[in-house]
């Protein structure tokens, strides 16, 4: 095995940046699992919707083509992330009402929820493949920000897009941590994820908490979708698939149902994937990343931090 040690620094950085994106998406999987014990496989479409909505508003509708600078850039970036977040949050609540709530009302079996999740994911993905929405190819995301170096870390340059991702993700994670541990709605989410019956007996409105959980998970998934657009300069109907499965893997790695676990799992998976490039080669990155899933399930089924939602 030839290890290219010169790559360690830059790939370490890439790992953290990509990993924070995984972490942001993983929150949606882990929170929904916490309250419903359901793997929401349609969360990859929720993520995609965020990127696509930001593309519609800033690319198609506003027609921004020239990079912005200064205050205009900050406003535009904030707008992009908010449009993505709100679109995905709405998408996630629609998904809950359309694909899961009717099953809950009829007392559906665990397996039917899972099948419904997979069906909903394919439905949304192929819906956006249609020409009246996004079409089959990749679409170019408006180039709001000229890539430029921000500073150096680990002996390699960090550009402004990397910095944007890390800053946005950190803000999201801190905000979520506060919501979960310090607000009334956060407390009800924790209660529901620990004991549904006890939560009901405390007067928690189960349906409202569930939809709020989808909304919050969708919100962060949408921020991630918009960040993806800004960073990779394109969006596509199938853009959710790989990041979605990676984020799901990250959630399992950190301990599904555990919010801090999703954060840790995301960063760690980003690092594992990128560091594998140093010694094994870039074409193996996905193989290595996805082998994490069976390994965790065999050797540490509850993940690194265990199944527990709050702090």
């Amino acid at each position: 095995m030839d290890c290219n040690t010169a790559l360690i620094g830059p790939l370490f950085l890439q790992g953290i940046i990509l990993g924070s994106l995984y972490a942001l998406i993983a929150l949606g999987y882990t929170m929904v699992y916490g309250v419903l014990k359901l793997i929401n496989f349609a969360h990859d479409s929720v993520f995609m919707v965020g990127g696509v909505a930001a593309f519609y508003v800033f690319g198609s509708a506003l027609g921004l083509t020239e990079p912005l600078t200064g205050f205009a850039l900050i406003v535009a970036l904030f707008g992009v992330l908010m449009v993505g977040a709100l679109a995905s949050a709405s998408g996630a609540t629609l998904l809950e009402r359309g694909a899961y709530r009717p099953l809950r009302r009829r007392g559906g079996a665990r397996l039917s929820f899972l099948i419904s999740a997979i069906g909903a994911s394919f439905f949304a993905t192929y819906l956006f493949q249609q020409d009246f929405l996004l079409g089959a190819g990749k679409r170019q995301f408006p180039n709001l920000m000229e890539t430029s170096g921000a500073f150096s870390a680990f002996g390699s340059p960090v550009n402004n897009k990397d910095l944007l991702i890390v800053v946005a993700v950190v803000i999201c994670l801190v905000a979520l941590d506060r919501v979960i541990n310090q607000t009334r709605i956060g407390r009800s989410i924790r209660a529901l994820s620990e004991d549904v019956v006890a939560a009901q007996l405390m007067g928690v409105n189960v349906n409202r908490v569930i939809v709020t959980t989808f909304l919050i998970g969708g919100f962060f998934g949408g921020v991630a979708g918009a960040l993806y657009g800004v960073n990779f300069a394109n969006v596509a109907w199938n853009m959710g698939f790989i990041p979605g499965v990676k984020a799901f893997t990250a959630a399992v790695l950190g301990g599904i149902g555990n919010i801090r676990g999703a954060m840790v799992g995301g960063i760690l998976l980003g690092l594992i994937e990128n560091m594998s490039v140093v010694c094994i080669g870039a074409e193996w990155a996905n193989v290595v990343a996805f082998s994490v899933l069976p390994l965790v399930l065999i050797f540490r089924p509850t993940g690194l931090l265990g199944e527990r939602i709050g702090g």
Binding site: R184, R187, S188, R190, A191, E194, D195, V197, A198, A199, Q200, L201, M202, G203, V204, N205, V206, R308, G310
Partner: protein, 242 residues
Amino acid sequence: MPPDNALLELEDMRVHYGAIEAVKGIHLRVEEGEIVALIGGNGAGKTTTLRAISMVHPPAGGSVRFEGNELRGVPSHGVVERGIVQVPEGRRIFPSMSVRENLEMGAFQRRASRKELHDDTRHVFELFPVLEERRKQAGGTLSGGEQQMLAIGRALMARPKVLMLDEPSMGLAPQVVERVFGVIRNINSEGTTVLLVEQNAHMALQTAHRGYVIETGEIVLEDDAKTLLGNDQVRKAYLGEE
């Protein structure tokens, strides 16, 4: 005919689990200020009855009236809002939340102010000083007796009009059972109506004003608690006497 001033009244209430009828049309009445005991063996339908009243597993037929209003169709959180609060079987403490957070969960539906929360928590700590010592500890690390006290304290935080307790004596040492029932009497004397479900018929009937005996989903006896304690059938079936 029962008087009209019942606070909580079940009429012909039936509860199904799939094809099985677990509660077969029971009548039960709780008046304001009373302690009513519902006693019976394992699987008789006691827990099912309480879950039905809380609308966690809503009844399939009959009626559940509280303060004269039908509760069927009301969601479980609406039942808590109206003032019926349950201490569930097995206590169901939130294991990773601290004692204080568990208590605050009890006041969840009230949207209590900081000050109210503080005062009510104080009150619970006065009833159960051990909870104050443990206030920062995770609920899951408490002993069975402490968890039972926490479960009762948590329910009191909701300021219930009717407090329903499901097997509060289960798995507890005799002295702890005595303590718990003492507290139940105190709570009642402070004005809270109590519906008590127990396998420990002796303790329950000594504490209650009136009692019902449930067997395989049907009420088979109903009387003053003292009379039930002296009833031959009850003595044989539930008090282990010949």
